[in-house]
């Protein structure tokens, strides 16, 4: 959303404008659900969290100062609401704690690189096959998107939360750190692991005959 539209939406929301509210619901609702889902066990609870968060947004909009984007501010409310709910469900591990513990495997299987005794240690045994020849239609097909979706769903919590906010929702690194209470480094480490795995899954899917 452009800054201009954002400030108009804030003003309209403060004035109690229903159309502005529903515009925001359309804009951010799906992402808020995805975000809430990171903290709670079920889709139904995530929906309750989002509803509760919207009430928090309406209550707090007069105090929104524009120091972060409206989106980051709203997501922060979702995260806080969901965390409180998650704690009640006994799911309260902060993502920063996960950054160090989540599996630390390499981005690419070490078998794909030449060994220490080779003339080019650490070089590709054979180059990854480019996806240039894969038609755009196949890249954007539902099947390819399902591969991405399933891979993300199977990631450890911290990685899943970061790649969802960064690459699915389109948040900046700064917004993600703010919403999830992560340091820049932790954010980047989690993003790296997540993207590496999604690439690996896509490679396997796209280059399988």
């Amino acid at each position: 959303v452009q800054a201009l539209e954002e400030s108009q939406l804030v003003a309209a929301l403060r004035a109690g404008d229903e159309a502005a509210f529903m515009r925001l619901v359309e804009l951010y609702g799906p992402s808020m659900l995805r975000l809430a889902r990171m903290f709670v066990r079920s889709q139904a609870v995530a929906e309750e969290v989002v509803q509760e968060a919207w009430v928090g947004v309406l209550r707090g909009i007069d105090r929104f100062e524009g120091r972060s984007s409206l989106r980051a501010w709203i997501f922060r409310i979702v995260a806080n609401t969901a965390k409180t709910r998650g704690e009640r469900e006994g799911r309260s591990v902060p993502f920063s704690a996960l950054a160090g513990e989540e599996d630390d495997g390499p981005a690419v299987d070490p078998d794909r690189f030449r060994g220490a005794g080779d003339l080019y240690p650490g070089g590709w045994k054979s180059f990854p096959e480019p996806w240039d020849d894969v038609p755009e239609q196949r890249l954007l097909s539902q099947e390819t998107r399902d591969v991405v979706d399933r891979t993300i769903a199977a990631l450890p919590d911290g990685q899943k939360a970061v790649i969802t906010l960064r690459d699915v929702v389109g948040c900046s690194a700064e917004e993600v750190c703010n919403v999830l209470d992560l340091s820049e480094t932790n954010q980047r480490v989690l993003l790296h692991r997540a993207r590496s795995k999604v690439r690996g899954a896509l490679e396997q899917y796209l280059t399988a005959a």
Partner: protein, 81 residues
Amino acid sequence: MSAQPITCQEIVELVTEYLEGTLAPEALAAFDAHLEVCPGCVTYVEQIRETVRLTGTLTEEQLEPGMREGLLAAFRDFKRG
């Protein structure tokens, strides 16, 4: 500036920092120098970019009508105080 060369196996671990723009100048120079001579790693970096693009297409979804209605009702409730 002649940077310490890095391997393909190191490239795949640095690619996120590369794309985030957080590599230190020397590491960035080494990364770029590697890409100059390694088509495999050029492909790899391209694939990570493509991965980000495809992941971004997952957003095109809509709220379920029931949820929309629930939120609209909550909004009207809130306005009534």
